[in-house]
């Protein structure tokens, strides 16, 4: 029950950050939609990772997602989800049940987020590492606390926008 509630709470916090950031109508509308549809989203998309919450909070705190960090999110997601869907034979996700190897990925991610000035994401990832051993999240796999496809998509879109801006 607690685990299911934590998933709803994460969606609600993500939505609230988007609404409060309020950069434009689309963002506020999206936040409101997420808030209203959170039970549906929890069923369809499972719970958001702390990375997605960190990125949403970053909008509120005006933290810029720089290209290197965006590329890291995109690359990490592409490899993890390609593996999960069976396009890579090795199951990288399975490493998250007894985290040792993926802690190297966590250390790189934390360092990169901090170095790139995205403190919201850096603190969110710290929070993920603090919450995971407490067992309050629905998943017993550390990957689910650290990354989700939404964070990967945000990284990809951000990178594309940067590349587009550079070209024009």
């Amino acid at each position: 029950m607690m685990a299911a509630f934590s998933g709803l709470l994460l969606w609600a916090l993500t939505a609230t950050s988007l609404i409060a950031a309020g950069n434009n109508r689309l963002q506020r509308g999206l936040g409101l939609l997420i808030l209203l549809a959170s039970p549906w989203l929890l069923g369809l998309l499972s719970f958001p990772s702390l990375a997605t919450l960190g990125l949403a909070t970053g909008l509120l705190l005006k933290h810029k997602l720089r290209p290197l960090l965006a590329a890291w999110l995109l690359l990490s997601g592409l490899v993890l989800y390609a593996s999960a869907l069976g396009f890579i034979a090795y199951d990288i996700y399975a490493l998250g049940y007894a985290p040792q190897v993926i802690l190297i990925w966590c250390a790189i991610s934390l360092g990169l987020a901090w170095q790139q000035g995205h403190r919201a994401l850096a603190y969110a990832w710290l929070a993920a590492l603090a919450l995971y051993p407490l067992g309050v999240l629905e998943s017993r796999n550390l990957w689910d606390a650290m990354l989700d496809p939404i964070a990967m998509i945000v990284g990809g879109v951000s990178l594309l926008r940067w590349l587009w801006g550079k070209k024009h």
């Binding site: 029950m1 685990a3 299911a4 509630f5 998933g7 709803l8 039970p39 549906w40 929890l42 069923g43 369809l44 998309l45 499972s46 993890l80 989800y81 999960a84 869907l85 069976g86 396009f87 890579i88 034979a89 090795y90 199951d91 996700y93 399975a94 998250g96 049940y97 007894a98 985290p99 040792q100 802690l103 966590c106 250390a107 934390l110 360092g111 901090w114 000035g117 850096a122 710290l126 590492l129 603090a130 995971y132 051993p133 629905e138 998943s139 017993r140 796999n141 550390l142 990957w143 689910d144 990354l147 989700d148 496809p149």
Partner: protein, 388 residues
């Protein structure tokens, strides 16, 4: 970004990384303990006897076989599973409703008491699962019970929030009173991609440490078998990918020593041949897929071990459909001999078998024309005897 701030962040990160460093679970060994024996006498059958009547008392040397129907008051039924409780009773689960995948489909159960199946009752519904898990759930299916080492009956089933069965996620309910009452359903997260596509169909394998391995499968983009290791407390502690070949699903795993096991897999590819994998380290690693010379029309199978050491398999032995359901036996898991035909009617469908072996008595449940569940109870003498 001050030096002090960076230092504090680095310290916090180092501490949390250290806290999260976990050792992998210890190596697995299969538990080969016998399942509970059935009670000494089996009362006379009273309901829906369809074939050869069974005498009141079972005898190992007398061929015995009987068929009963499990019918919920709904037109569609599919994917039955059966388990022996510690008191020797059987309990079966299946899903049924107006049609497969409809929102009124529920998980049904019935108990085999005194030689007959009692009136089925509903165990799980999309509405109750939604309420328990605080999220929208559209449909449920494929119930698989596991009796854990603590005596708890755990019921795994799949649910879908949007789309088809390929987007299923795994759910679990637990009963501490042999299925009389159930705790709330909980979600089991098994995939990083929106937790999509983990389905269950086949029986679990018990482990020596009190945990169990639950065979599951993925079928979103590619189809492949996986195993979930649950510890003694029921927590998911490891996920094992059996292969990434892409055209196999519903692994039926049977252990034959503490370290060795076979897995037979449904083939969804064009070759229409049953697939085999083997493990020699308690299920942690699996051999490459071997195609057996046995037909499989993209259809579920069930496999169990008979006390004399042979394997028994219930399967659809034709490549052109599910109109025939048969029993085959094997000494080595690779070479199979068809010895009984349970159903064979062109144009009809008999599918999704589950087997349960308790010493001399064996139980088979399967889907009959997607409308009801049939239960066949037979003994070894019947299995090895002439076709009735």
């Amino acid at each position: 970004m001050t030096f002090k701030g960076t230092l504090l962040f680095g310290l916090a990160a180092a501490c949390l990384l250290a806290i999260n460093a976990q050792k992998a679970p210890s190596e697995m060994r299969f538990a080969l303990a016998k399942q509970p024996k059935i009670s000494a006498s089996t009362p006379q059958m009273e309901v829906q006897r369809l074939r050869a009547p069974v005498p009141a008392a079972h005898s190992a040397s007398t061929p015995q076989m009987e068929v009963q129907r499990l019918r919920a008051p709904v037109p569609a039924a599919h994917s039955a599973s059966i388990i022996a409780l510690r008191n020797g009773e059987r309990i079966a689960f299946w899903f049924g409703g107006s049609r497969e995948g409809a929102t009124d489909v529920s998980v049904w159960a019935s108990r085999y008491q005194n030689g007959k199946w009692i009136k089925p009752w509903i165990v799980a519904t999309p509405a109750q699962s939604s309420k328990d898990q605080w999220r929208y759930i559209k449909k449920v299916g494929n119930p698989v019970p596991v009796l854990d080492s603590q005596g708890r009956l755990q019921l795994f089933y799949v649910s879908v929030s949007m789309g088809g069965w390929a987007t299923s996620t795994l759910n679990r309910m637990t009963s501490t009173d042999n299925g009389q009452s159930w705790g709330p359903a909980s979600k089991i997260i098994t995939s990083p991609f929106f937790n999509l596509s983990t389905l269950v169909r086949t029986h679990a394998v018990q482990l020596e440490d009190g945990g169990f391995l639950l065979p599951v499968y993925h079928e979103l983009a590619r189809k492949f078998g996986e195993l979930l290791q649950f510890n003694r407390e029921g927590q998911l502690v490891r996920k094992i990918r059996m292969n990434a070949e892409g055209e196999n699903l519903q692994p039926a795993v049977i252990a034959h020593s503490p370290t060795d096991a076979f897995a037979l897999l449904r083939n969804s590819g064009p070759s229409r041949q049953l697939m085999l994998q083997q493990s020699h380290d308690g299920g942690a690693h699996w051999s490459p897929i071997q195609q057996l010379n046995i037909k499989n029309p993209d259809s579920a199978i069930a496999v169990e071990r008979i006390p004399d050491g042979r394997l028994i398999m219930a399967h659809n032995p034709r490549s052109d459909g599910r109109s025939e359901l048969a029993l085959s036996v094997s000494q080595d898991g690779k070479n199979w001999k068809k010895i009984k035909v349970i159903e064979n009617t062109p144009g009809m469908e008999f599918s999704y078998p589950t087997l349960l072996v308790n010493d001399e008595i064996m139980d088979l449940v399967y889907t009959w024309e997607r409308s009801e569940i049939h239960h066949v109870r037979f003994n070894r003498a019947w299995l090895d005897g002439a076709q009735p």
